[in-house]
């Protein structure tokens, strides 16, 4: 029973879709920063000598800016998520300590041996269970990988031939099992329709990829951007559903 309460509370942090939304947005911002960095590299030979100093220093500063923004997000991501949660989730379903606080407390509680073996044993103790936050996060990343691979197959113009075959095999092997699992879930849990939405989204992206096959750069940008879009889309759907299911309680 304690384990169940533990899993439910861990799942609670991710259940409203806000972490997925924030991480998706952060991924897109980071990607745009990298794009801007490459754009500067492309522009430098085309600008006049008056502006060259500006573009050069911007290009030199851009990796530092990227590093700083990643570090800033790493340090403040939980606070950003909590800021949104305090206005959406907490008034509806209450507050549970965020994951960082959780880990500190768990370490206090378990007092694990500070050795490699201890770390491995601790990790085994936290193996992904269906209800746990870790399991959910793993599933999200597996889905992202799956769609990224799917896109990778249909964007062959910029992939080396050998790598393309690796993608195709890696995608084809688990696909019958995942499709069967998807059908089973849709049959038992109606709310799994979001996965269907994700599937449609993936197909749409592939179709767009086909249409723009003549423009490999566009295909690559779309391919690299897709995990962020997918995360944000999933998060937005999850949040909408969560808010509908949990109205603000009357006091």
């Amino acid at each position: 029973m304690i384990e169940q309460a533990d899993h439910r509370a861990k799942e609670y942090w991710l259940s409203d879709g806000i972490p997925a939304l924030v991480f998706g947005a952060a991924y897109i911002v980071l990607f745009l920063e990298i794009c801007a960095c490459f754009a500067l590299l492309y522009l430098i030979p085309h600008v006049g000598s008056n502006w060259l100093w500006f573009f050069n220093s911007a290009f030199v500063a851009s990796p530092v800016a990227i590093f700083l923004s990643v570090a800033w997000f790493g340090l403040w991501q939980e606070d950003i998520i909590e800021f949104i949660k305090s206005r959406t989730t907490y008034p509806r379903t209450g507050y549970v300590a965020p994951p960082s606080y959780w880990t500190e407390k768990e370490e206090e509680k378990d007092d694990p041996p500070n050795t490699l073996l201890g770390a491995v044993l601790r990790w085994i103790g936290h193996l992904p269970v269906f209800e746990s936050g870790l399991g959910r996060r793993l599933r999200t990343w597996l889905w992202i990988l799956f769609w990224t691979w799917l896109l990778g197959i249909f964007q062959p113009s910029w992939l080396p031939t050998k790598l393309r075959w690796v993608f195709i095999v890696a995608w084809a092997l688990p696909s019958p099992a995942s499709f069967r699992e998807f059908r089973r879930k849709v049959a038992t849990h109606k709310r799994e329709w979001t996965k269907g939405f994700g599937f449609t989204f993936g197909v749409l992206v592939v179709v767009i990829g086909f249409l723009w096959k003549q423009h490999p750069t566009f295909g690559m940008v779309l391919f690299l951007l897709s995990p962020g879009i997918f995360l944000m889309l999933g998060g937005a759907i999850e949040l909408t559903r969560y808010l509908r299911r949990n109205p603000v309680p009357r006091t």
């Binding site: 309460a5 439910r8 509370a9 800021f83 949660k85 305090s86 008034p91 209450g94 507050y95």
Partner: protein
């Protein structure tokens, strides 16, 4: 002390079902607010409030009133005394469970 006598010495503050539910939840979670506990336990506001007050009185639960943004929170967590008491309670109940399972096997 014999096993039945030990049972008589069970912590009555924790033994009450609603409070046992609250203690079990807070044992698993570092901290949670009143609304979360209410949803998880299914208790009414007044009921939960009175049980939490009883646990706070026994110094098993720490209750802090704070704000997250504009949203007021009543955060509850187990104190170290509460953890020890719950552990001792679980230990005693385990003895009972061991006795009953041994009897079943015979």
């Amino acid at each position: 002390m014999t096993a039945p006598q030990e049972l008589a010495a069970l912590d009555r503050v924790i033994h009450e079902p609603a409070r046992l539910m609250i203690m079990t939840l807070l044992w698993a979670i570092p901290e949670a607010d009143f609304l979360y506990l209410q949803r998880e336990t299914g208790l009414t506001q007044g009921n939960l409030s009175s049980h939490l007050a009883r646990l706070e009185q026994a110094r098993y639960v720490l209750i802090e009133k704070t704000f997250k943004g504009k949203y007021p929170l009543t955060i509850c967590s187990l104190t170290s005394k509460g953890r020890e008491a719950f552990q001792a309670y679980a230990q005693k109940m385990r003895v009972v469970s061991d006795v009953t399972s041994a009897k079943k096997r015979k």
